[in-house]
Symmetry: C2
Subunit: 205 residues, 2 copies
């Protein structure tokens, strides 16, 4: 479901190595594990723990999050609805590049709009996109407030803050739901790992 | 040399797995091998052959080229100087994400402007960026004309075509020069592989 580029002068070049060749060589299947949820819900924390477990098992993984994307690729974008939309679009396209290389790609973005996430699911294609709803209640997230952002949002210092002054649209049919308000980090990461094993993205430990 | 993002609310999160951990696990060092040269000079052809050889040796590689980038991430960009600039900037940032994951990342873009390539070298950092000048003479490229683009450019159907109606600024200090007008594909790919071995990005075969 790639878009038509502005130029029609881009020719398809066949590589000699297919995605399947790469996956076979690495002993895994490329996939994007898309964590979505409120600020402070634990998206990055769970993604980092899953990355640790998988890499120690010899899997090739990467993490895309606000730190490495907002400071680089998307440093020209702010937090207006249009910029959030373009932010998530570009992340989806980069995620696809990693996935097609056979890499297990963990993304941790609030990604509050359902339409943006659904578009990325379409871009990736069926089986290449696992939506993980990190479902911690707002009051839990606000109590944690690890970066002090809720306090600033309540004080009006940060405008358009998801859950406070901007909407969060919960996933309707996520592949995985994590209740990080109740579950331990080990439990949450374990649920994701078990899903990846069960569906054959990684070998069983 | 990351840019400051528009938002100051992005916090640095430490992953538990370092770049070095990933590189050790894969037995290679992450790097961007940036092929630059005229249309028809053989950038993609050499990149695809290097990818084939490396992957068959067990290395984790990827190729970024017009096909997978212009149809996806940069489908909103055309070929004006500003759009070419943004095209190459985004590719540089994506290349950095792959490099920091420890992957050998082969990029094949005309990338005609020296300033754009030099900026990407800065973004990546010393040792993470290998510039490969694919130096085939214009008349050789035009004679090959594998996509029929030179013919269209000469006829004025394609405006701003590098080498015909738009400039190509040759690299001043590329790490590698390939004379694909004289060398065979095997020779050209072999020069790149030998460089990667010599500098310790990959193990010797």
């Amino acid at each position: 479901m790639s878009q038509q580029p502005k130029s029609q002068n881009i020719t398809k070049i066949e590589t000699k190595i297919s995605r399947e060749d790469r996956e076979k060589m690495m002993g895994q299947k490329g996939v994007t594990v898309w964590f979505t949820g409120l600020s402070g819900s634990g998206k990055s924390t769970v993604a980092i723990e899953v990355d640790r477990i998988l890499t120690n098992r010899g899997a090739v993984c990467t993490i895309l999050d606000g730190d490495n994307v907002r400071h680089g690729l998307n440093s020209d974008l702010g937090f207006s609805p249009e910029d959030r939309n373009e932010n998530i679009r570009r992340i989806g396209e980069v995620a696809k590049l990693f996935t097609e290389t056979g890499i297990i790609n963990l993304t941790a973005f609030i990604s509050p709009y359902r339409a943006d996430r659904d578009r990325n699911r379409q871009i990736q294609g069926e089986g290449d996109f696992i939506e993980v709803f990190v479902d911690a209640p707002l009051d839990v997230c606000e109590q944690r407030d690890p970066k002090g952002l809720y306090e600033k949002a309540r004080a009006g210092i940060i405008p358009e803050f998801t859950g406070i002054s901007a909407p969060y649209e919960a996933p309707e049919k996520p592949e995985i739901v994590l209740n990080t308000g109740d579950q331990s980090l080990e439990e949450s990461a374990g649920i994701v790992i078990a899903y990846l094993e069960e569906k054959g993205y990684i070998n069983k430990a």
